[in-house]
Amino acid sequence: MPGVRPAPAASPLPNRGNSMNSGRLRYMADQIARNFAAGGEAAAIAATAEHIRLFWDPRMKAAILADDRNALSPVAAAAVDRLAGQGAWHGSAPDSSCASKADG
């Protein structure tokens, strides 16, 4: 019985994006920015940048940093700019040859 693996159903709204590099991350960044908006623009930019720094994994950070700022809302774009300025993410995991160093 081949083919037990179901094909993913096509999304009727493809522009929402289903993966890291596309609309999904933009959507997330904009959504964060929108929820901080009531605090005023400067505070919203700072809070959005901080939120991304604290909760996004490095590949997500790298992807949004490499992405087109114009595709983001102004607050989200400014927040990503700020992150880029801070160099606030570590590109790769530390070399953890855990096997030899783990407790025993």
Partner: protein, 958 residues
């Protein structure tokens, strides 16, 4: 250890700190004020005969077996209804009393079958004990009169039987159902000798009645009239071990009563501080899944998911898994690996899984199913109060005057706590329900909500902002509290924001659909009604503004000073048994145990030293991000302990695609669950009965789980508890762990986590349970948090913070094609995705998921109750049967998600909470139409699932 019933003192404790001294049978005894003479005697070690009294029910005084003589009182008062008084002189054994008691007993026995020797309660029957206690020797009345001896046994309930012939009409069961459970299902029908216990209306049996099978009546029954069927089948238990229920976040403790290696029954433990001797149908009865034939007890592997499974040894499975993990790590880097900890497993097991991922895999890609339920609670309460946890213990509800229940359905999802809450409501506390659906609490026997805010799904923040508007603009805030304990500037920003006319109930009624007057009345009641407490559930968190809603709740509690003492507080009702614990244990990708951020170098250093390995300072992926990354190809291997993400997570097709894209999926579970269809390695799990450890319930209470039988996943004595399996996988990867008992893991947790510094299995054994934090500042734990002040910031001394929560409507919108809003929930008899409860007799109460729809919406569509309907959203569609009810408002439909055949999550969307990515389960725009059969997905599903579950015959050489 032999088997004994828990001691029964006859009538309840009063908890009074004052004492009274009286003389009983010539001995002076000192007891708490207000207790009965019966309890005083029992406390002094001399039991007075009794039949209608038991100490979890208030005294009733009907059987007259407990008569005593009291100096200065006429006649022979019943000791169960006579309170003690200073200097009282009581005699419990005189000739007159003995004679009277024998006479009473004789009457009872004359109406009772004399087949003790063959009765399943033989040796465990209070009637026998009391007959012996009063020295009954013969029965003069014969068995002639009108009685119950001919009535037939009611076996309709799957777990217990009612034999009216053995009933002595003490009405303990009726009172247990009323007082303890609060369901009012039983009555005494008929009079005199002909009277008998009846469930519901005449002609109803237990199953057909309102009975919710909590078991309180069975526990209360002094004879075999109400008895667990397992006692009949297996025999009397020989030993009892106290352990903790593994179903919901109430965390009831039970005596697991055993006969050899066989569990006979689970009896709620009266000393359990979470349940106080009560239980629900799941913990009490639904444990049969542990021996269900579907349970997989052998490790299995397969090269690819379209191949059949091959049963192999532990060694082969573990080295296969470790080999794949290492190869993927070598090729794609550590961040291509990850794991999911389980909120059903113990703290110790959860801690080990995240340790394996962080220290062994070398990445922070670890998450837990709390992601999809209470992650917004963690974020919201940490931001406002400084601690990611509920503020109260359950006992606190008994001092509440006003109770808000928001987005929770406690009578179904947290039944034992709901019974406590209902008891308080019957005493007169006032109730405000904020929920799109008319949950049972809104109107049930002797309970009626003061206000039901039946809001439009997705407008929680708007409703709470409108309530805050009322509190601030009508001057109902507690300014002293705010000035003393909260950041004043942040408060002023917030107060200014909510006072804006845009946020008045009148302005927001357009979106919330709650009449402004109702919002105003509810806000006034909450702010001025005395002690006000908020209890909330997943209807708060599982929204695109879940975190905002939690913070809006916290704002309201701070503004009215309803924090920091008994009877008030903000209380998340946790779904699974160990959601609190799995969050505490560092299951989230951005924080180590005790909610400390991974980027904090000093915290990391602590762990790095202890574990001897460098940790990644960057947060890892959350579950939805893992699936996204899998589709992109940058995430390739996952170890999933005790979770069924394919069924429990939203947007099933997306989850399936993510799993299908991975090179190594390791599922560690009891059953070949839905997720296992995509797995390459299956590691058989162990049940909570088969291991030691701890769970932490919704009130931060850490309780011991004790092994009562050997794990079934290996030959006798060689089965492995889940923590041992994780350790074996770690060792297959070369980590060299050597824990010999979970208590050593707890010692490590305590060493590395300040809030757990004082916790150890030995301490728990001694204290029964502990509510964290347990450390030098609170050596005995902390039942109520923030009594002195809030605990924000690194020093834990920061003031409470008001956070402006702007209502942002969800992007999931209704429109002409999808005009209805779907919201989801759960019901009493089933648990989560039902992997366990579907494999028990609980299916008699719920054998399929139904779609609740309002009569007007149904009529428009020509739908009648029982019709099969198609439920379609922008993401997908499924079919199920409809139930027409006005519990839901027009425009709203509701279903549960307990059955894989329904796959309600095929239709839910990928929208999620802005702060935590907790999925928005509670709002999906849908259309409902008549349908004539299952969808293609459902039809394919059955075939696919069967295919993916094939296990090769045990021949060598596959």
């Amino acid at each position: 250890m032999g088997y004994e019933r828990q001691p029964d003192f006859g009538t309840p404790a009063t908890g009074s700190p004052d004492t009274v001294t009286l003389r009983i049978d010539g001995r002076d005894v000192t007891v708490p004020a207000g207790v009965s003479v019966m309890r005083a005697a029992a406390l002094a070690g001399s039991a007075i005969p009794r039949l209608c009294a038991t100490d979890n029910l208030s005294a009733f005084g009907s059987c007259r077996l407990c008569l005593v003589e009291v100096e200065g009182m006429k006649g022979t008062p019943a000791s169960c209804t006579t309170p003690v008084a200073e200097g009282m002189v009581v005699r419990t054994r005189t000739q007159r009393l003995e004679k009277l008691r024998r006479g009473v007993m004789e009457l009872y026995i004359s109406d009772h079958p004399l087949d003790c020797l063959t009765c399943s309660a033989n040796g465990d029957c209070e009637l026998q004990d009391q007959a012996a206690a009063v020295g009954l020797r013969d029965v003069r009345y014969g068995h002639a009169g009108e009685n119950h001896l001919g009535l037939s046994v009611d076996r309709s309930n799957p777990y217990f039987a009612f034999d009216p012939a053995k009933c002595v009409v003490c009405s303990r069961c009726v009172r247990a159902c009323d007082e303890v459970q609060g369901t009012f299902a039983l009555t005494i029908a008929g009079r005199g000798f002909a009277s008998t216990v009846s469930a519901g209306q005449a002609g109803d049996d237990f199953l057909g009645s309102e009975c919710v099978s909590c078991g309180a009546c069975v526990q209360a029954c002094p004879t075999a009239a109400l008895q667990e069927k397992t006692v009949e089948d297996i025999g009397k238990p020989e030993r009892a071990v106290v352990t903790t229920c593994a179903y919901c976040g109430v965390g009831c403790t039970f005596r697991a009563e055993m006969r050899g290696q066989q569990l006979v029954r689970m009896v709620p433990w009266k000393d359990g501080k979470a349940n106080r001797g009560h239980s629900c149908v799941k913990g009490r009865f639904a444990w049969g899944y542990a021996n269900h034939r579907d349970r997989i007890t052998s490790p299995m592997i397969r090269e690819a998911v379209d191949r059949p499974w091959r049963e192999v040894s532990w060694d082969e499975a573990l080295s296969f898994a470790a080999g794949r993990l290492k190869a993927i790590k070598a090729r794609y880097g550590a961040r291509a690996l990850g794991g999911i900890t389980s909120s059903r497993c113990t703290n110790e097991e959860t801690f080990l899984v995240q340790k394996l991922v962080r220290a062994g895999f070398g990445t922070n890609n670890v998450d837990t199913c709390a992601r999809v339920c209470h992650s917004p609670t963690g974020y919201g309460l940490k931001t406002t109060f400084g601690a990611s946890a509920g503020t109260q213990d359950f006992d606190s509800v008994m001092q509440a005057d006003v109770i808000i229940v928001m987005g929770a359905n406690p009578t179904d999802a947290h039944p034992v706590f709901a019974s406590r809450m209902k008891r308080r409501l019957r005493q007169g506390a006032r109730l405000i329900v904020i929920d799109p659906r008319r949950i049972d609490l809104v109107r049930s026997p002797h309970i009626e909500a003061a206000h039901h805010l039946a809001l439009q799904p997705g407008t929680n923040v708007a409703v709470l902002t409108a309530m805050a508007h009322v509190v601030v603009t009508e001057g109902l805030t507690d300014e002293d509290f705010i000035r003393e304990r909260c950041e004043w500037d942040a408060y002023q920003d917030w107060a200014g924001f909510v006072s804006d006319a845009r946020h008045s109930p009148e302005a927001l009624a357009a979106v919330t659909r709650v009449p402004a007057e109702t919002v105003r009345a509810a806000a006034r009641l909450y702010a001025t009604g005395g002690n006000s407490a908020i209890y909330y559930g997943l209807g708060v968190t599982e929204h695109s503004q879940g975190s905002s809603t939690v913070m809006a709740i916290a704002n309201l509690a701070m503004a009215t000073g309803n924090i920091g003492r008994a009877g008030v507080g903000v209380n998340p009702l946790r779904g699974q048994n160990n959601v609190q614990g799995s969050c505490d244990m560092g299951s989230f990708p951005h924080e180590l145990s005790g909610y400390r951020h991974i980027s904090d170098a000093s915290v990391r250093a602590l762990f790095e030293q202890d574990w001897g390995v460098a940790l990644d300072p960057e947060p890892g992926l959350r579950i939805p991000n893992m699936l996204d990354a899998a589709i992109d190809g940058s995430f390739r291997a996952i170890y999933i302990q005790g979770e069924d993400i394919l069924q429990s997570d939203p947007d099933t097709a997306h989850v399936a695609a993510g799993l299908a894209a991975m090179d190594c999926v390791i599922v560690h579970d009891l059953f070949l669950n839905e997720t296992a269809a995509y797995a390459h390695v299956f590691l058989p799990g162990s049940t909570f009965l088969e291991k030691d450890g701890t769970f932490t319930n919704a009130e931060r209470r850490i309780q011991l789980v004790r092994k009562v039988m050997e794990p079934a996943n290996g030959p006798d004595g060689q089965g492995l508890a889940d923590w041992q399996v994780t350790q074996a996988l770690a060792n297959a990867m070369g980590l060299g762990w050597n824990y010999t008992h979970p208590c050593e893991i707890m010692d490590e947790i305590a060493r590395l986590t300040p809030a757990f510094a004082g916790v150890s299995h030995a301490r728990l054994e001694e204290a029964g349970s502990l509510q964290w934090p347990v450390n030098d500042a609170c050596p005995a734990g902390l039942p109520i948090m923030h009594a002195e002040g809030f605990v924000r910031g690194p020093d834990g001394k920061g003031k409470g913070r008001f956070v402006v929560t702007d209502y942002v409507p969800t992007d999931e919108k209704t429109g002409p094609r999808y005009p209805l809003l779907l919201t989801t929930g759960r019901i009493l008899s089933q648990y989560n995705v039902g992997t366990q409860t579907r494999r028990t007799a609980n299916v008699v109460w719920h054998d399929e998921d139904l779609l609740e729809i309002h009569p007007s919406d149904a009529e428009n569509r020509g739908i009648r109750t029982g019709d099969r309907v198609r439920l379609a959203s922008r993401k997908g569609e499924t079919t199920l049967r409809a139930e027409i009810t006005d519990r839901v408002a027009p425009g709203v439909v509701y279903t549960t998600f307990h059955h894989p055949g329904t796959q309600a999550n095929v239709v839910t969307t990928e929208f999620s909470d802005w702060a935590t990515n907790c999925p928005e389960y509670k709002v999906t725009a849908v259309q409902v139409t008549l349908s004539n059969g299952p969808t293609q997905w459902q039809e394919d599903y059955a075939g696919r699932a069967a295919g993916a579950r094939r296990i090769a015959a045990a021949e060598p050489g596959e």
